[in-house]
Amino acid sequence: MPRLIKNGAVVDDSWTALDHDTVAPQAGQICTLPQWLQLSQKKGSAVQLEPAEEPDILFEHLQEIALIVINFPVFTDGRGFSYARRLREHGYRGELRAGGHFIRDQLTYLRRCGFDAFQMDDESELEAALDSLGDFTEFYQAADDQPLPLFRRRV
């Protein structure tokens, strides 16, 4: 079973991986956006966004979706960071997973933007990568993990 970092620990992935070729994804399977749009039942669904797919199209169903994966085909394409923030700002509370090729040195930023699960290319890196989640303990900006900017918290 594939493994990933979720809520700060390495765990098994209970979802079935995305299958581009299937017309009818099974329950518990991650959908591409076009597949997901075809689903008659959005409750408990899982969808993966690619960098060119803005999350706004999901906004109406944020209370029903169980998992949103934002894929990073290349780690330098930072669109997913903004997508994550927008999803959280619009009230999404389900699992928000980073997938694809990102690097452990981005974990703090990803978490701050609202990701709570990280599925990395190289699973053998997962344990070591946990360390990078703790790179910073103080931040200037407001973000998903710290709703107040430092200037409202300084004592």
């Binding site: 394409d77 669109r79 903004s82 790179d135 931040f139 200037y140 407001a142 409202r152």
Partner: protein
Amino acid sequence: MYVYDQYDQKIIDERVAQFRDQTARFLDGKISETEFLPLRLQNGLYLQRQAPMLRIAVPYGLLNSKQLRKLADITRRYDKGYAHISTRQNIQLNWPALTDVPDILAELATVQMHAIQTSGNCVRNTTTDQFAGVACDELEDPRPYCEIIRQWSTLHPEFAFLPRKFKIAVCGSTEDRAAIHHHDIGLELLANAQGEIGLRVLVGGGLGRTPAIGSVVCDWLEKEHMLTYLEAILRVYNKHGRRDNKFKARIKILVRAMGVEAFREAVEKEWATLKNGPTTLTEDELIRARSFFDAPDYAVLDRAESTTELQAACDRDAIFGNWVKRNTQDHRVPGYRIVTVSLKSTGYAPGDVTAEQLELIAELSDLYSFGEIRSTHEQNMVLGDVPISQLYALWQHLQGAGLATPNIGYLTDIICCPGGDYCSLANAKSLPVAEAIQARFDDLDYIYDLGPLELNISGCMNACGHHHIGHIGILGVDKKGQEYYQVCLGGSQSKDASIGKILGPSFKQEDMPDVIDTILSTYVTLRQEEESFLDTYRRVGNEPFKERVYAPTH
């Protein structure tokens, strides 16, 4: 100036530890070159032609004497005993070893300095007027806003992997000394009809391959909304900026492609979610930020008396008098002057400063200018608060150290990037061209007669030497493996911003002093009364210059 509290220090210290670990993993083969690239760039580290180059952040160009001494010490211990002031007011070291960089960053952190986001596709060092807080034409000190932006942009989680680099400048005075029209975002402090001060927001200016002047996206923004509005702009850019072609990835291309109206609408839409949220600035935060830039303990001096005193000193020593005229400026407080320390003496790369000079400037700032120093985007340094009675003593020290070349704002005060001698991006060398021009025009009377003149040189299209906005701009180009130089005329970095027009085919390096000579003598022939070079150029255009420069030789 801004002083770190425990929070700022913690963030900087954690960053040093993070980069130390990243460097160790890289040297251990656990991070690939490609993955290490943005990590090191966002800590100011380039791998260059000769050695790595480390670009140290000087937030909005402000330094204290302790920091300057530390920099001098670092250049001696880890480099070759000199540093370079960049056109973003930062300080560059040209010869550090990669393995030393974590230690250098740790040293910097002990004096509240860092190299965060001085490179990479992220928000870079915010720049401003080198005369902020002391200029006579200032509406409000821009530095508190710069500091607020510095904190907001430092390690911003959402904007560390933008399509391309992102530069912000803030101006708070009538004259624009921060080139805000040529930044990704330019912020201008200005007053409305009720006398309240707010911000005008320009977006999409820039230099590089496609020079552009910024468009007004918001005519009036209340200060409290500054950060949420910036965040909305960055978010539109992060989502929609082009990522398929690095030469079309800057925000100026996006603004042009969308059109200003559509771009503004997109920003407003993003802003709707962010506006009035927790990132909205509080009155307390504005007060706190301003408190770091309160006026120092100025002596109460009589303006008329000190003017007479200065005049007498200038009369006694004409060389001193000339330096006062060329390298110092009026200060908003009676009895004080702003002194520019020239880093433009012939024979030395523009903007280079030795460890000994750094230490001397530190000492002079302690003696004469409240221990503060500014770096300028024109690659000089400034002592902002010098009592008129101390000018002569200060000048003697500067003179003795080669720091008093009386050329500020004149032809030989050249802006120049490190070019092909150091930089691996460069198409051509820029330093020898600067030196040849400085050597040719060594007659001070002639350069004074030419009046205010900005000559800017870049070694490649990236335009670090701001060639498009020099009155005379020189660009190094590669022509079939040979270094050639293209000339453009008529650029301006002021509020009357303009982008220079290319004169014609490029020239060989050895011909450059002659080409500049012909351009200058054409101006001298054509100018009317009090016209500056730029005035004349704007009146007559490129043609007369072109005719003379490309005239067949007899």
